[in-house]
Amino acid sequence: MKHSIWKDYASHKYMFLMLLPVLVYFAIFHYGPMYGVIIAFKDYKILEGTLGSPWAGLDNFRELFGGYAFGTVLRNTLIINFYKLVFGFSAPIVLALLINEVSVGWFKKSVQTISYLPHFLSWVVLAGLVIEFLSPSRGAVNMALAWFGIDPIYFITEPGWFRAILVSTDIWQTVGFSAIIYLAAIAGINPEMYEAAEVDGISRVQKIWYITLPSMAPVIVIMLILNSGAIINDDFEQVFNLLNAKVMEVGDVLSTYTYTEGLLKMNYSYAAAVGLFKNVVALILVLTANYLASKFSDETIF
């Protein structure tokens, strides 16, 4: 038995040699940190390293769930991500439907090209744009508000507005590029359905409601299930670049908290525990979603 396995590898040695560097990469840079996460159950000391540091059992997790800060951070994360999921998920579907209604070729192309653009810019650049755009003295938003006689609002530093800014700028960045898959789904709809409906004198809105949306349903449901992990996985680059001292109480999320605790305050073990908590919850969500996805696609086949 053992012999034949060795022969298997020997006869495909070049192919396995090709794969080897890739396996080594994953072993070091992905399985390495997975092993390193044991520091969440230790009291990590820089000089003693991951192996040498003394075990601390569940102390870090007790501190985590007992402390005040973590509750706030978890609440912020869940609230922000919930709104991102609800609005951010439906926005690209709506955009795809809107783009599909446009018959003027150049307009359609321009809308697509421009709306994909923010997807290719870093959050450093996007944060710069957002702050300028929302500026109380120059920003277009406040200028428009002033036109209606509303006093300028300091959106970025106002706790009451900050979460709304995170949600809306998230949509702003991702809506165009996320619409691509729905546009492809719309393009796949049989045109005969529309032709038949036109004979019956159906309106444009009715066409969307009775033909386009139901035809997109399988794609929409699968995308929703695949996106469910997003309820706990926050967008570090976005939040970190927009976060400031005045909105910490409403905007600090799990990943920014991990960064502050771990890399700034060097509470490595405690921060690793925060990260581990997040990753375990995300894993459970993804596995549940995959289970539901397989169930769902089974049902649609028959």
């Binding site: 298997d8 090709m18 890739v22 709306s115 710069g128 120059r138 991990t258 690793a272």
Partner: protein, 291 residues
């Protein structure tokens, strides 16, 4: 067809065009504003109101940014990491995707699982940081290109693409006496070029935009990347003036300098974006219809 449109349809279409216009404006106006401010003298910048088109042209913001050495060094570092990072990613992704696409690879299912598992669970920010530190990669370019060298998602896309290639091509080449190396570089590689180009583009944009790794792994000022220097200027308010007199500083608004730095850093992406856009769209669709 258009003549048959009733009042409701027409109203609906007006709404559609208006909504799309608002979306496009929300993306174009901030960009216009940034460009205008980067080109305006302080008295315009500090005045209340819209700044969508430059009224008075003033290039001193750009002069100041371009005289700031750290930006040029950072530009070089970003170009270097983008080239090296993309090359490593392409090589490793190709090396991994081919064997995993072949049924004859021993324990293919196990090795695929070994790779795919990392998509669902990771050690997280802190253990990764400690690992990079432990490997002695701090303050080297390897800390920027190695930890993220392979994206499982892209690897699977390439693998699926290779699975879809007709097996008969390789078989007929074998009958003609071609060896494995010849098959790989003369048959598989050329056929996979479109998908490899997509992976290359995604990776290059990712590297161009990355800054967090540079922030935590690199302490030496001369090795920082462009996005991080930009972040300091834009969001942390770092001064870019190099021993200029007080009068010179007063002549340029800090806002102008910030916006000039922003324009300088996005210019390369803006220049190539219109030409490459369709490849990105294609790439997304290939990825979403994986079997």
């Amino acid at each position: 067809m258009a003549t048959k449109m009733n009042f409701g349809d027409r109203l609906f279409l007006i709404g559609v065009y208006a909504a799309l216009l608002v979306l496009v404006l929300s993306m174009m106006l901030p960009l216009l504003q940034v460009v205008t401010i980067s080109l305006s003298p302080p008295k315009v910048v500090n005045s209340y109101g819209f700044h969508l088109f430059p009224t008075v042209l003033d290039f001193s913001g750009y002069a100041k940014v371009l005289r700031y050495d750290a930006i040029w060094t950072a530009y070089g570092n970003t170009v270097l990491r983008t080239l090296l990072g993309t090359a490593i990613t392409l090589l490793l992704t190709f090396l991994g995707a081919y064997p995993l696409s072949k049924k004859r690879l021993p324990h293919r299912k196990f090795w695929t699982g070994f790779v795919v598992l990392t998509m669902f669970f990771s050690g997280g920010m802190i253990p990764t940081y400690l690992l990079v530190k432990g490997l002695g990669l701090m303050n080297t370019i390897w800390a920027l290109v190695l930890p993220s060298a392979i994206s499982v998602f892209l690897l699977l896309i390439v693998r699926n693409f290779m699975i879809a290639l007709p097996e008969s091509l390789e078989e007929s080449a074998k009958i003609d006496g071609a060896n494995d190396v010849f098959i790989l570089f003369r048959i598989v590689l050329p056929l996979s070029l479109p998908i490899i180009a997509t992976v290359g583009l995604y990776t290059a944009v990712w590297h161009w935009n990355a800054w967090f790794d540079s922030m935590i792994y690199i302490q030496e000022e001369s090795k920082q990347v462009l996005q991080l220097i930009l972040r300091r200027i834009l969001l942390e308010g770092q001064d870019v003036s190099v021993e200029t007199s007080a009068s010179m500083q007063a002549a340029v608004s800090t806002e102008t300098v910030k916006m000039a730095a922003l324009v300088v850093s996005v210019l390369p992406i803006m220049c190539v974006y219109p030409f490459l856009q369709k490849y990105f769209v294609k790439g997304t669709l290939i990825g979403s219809v994986k079997g």
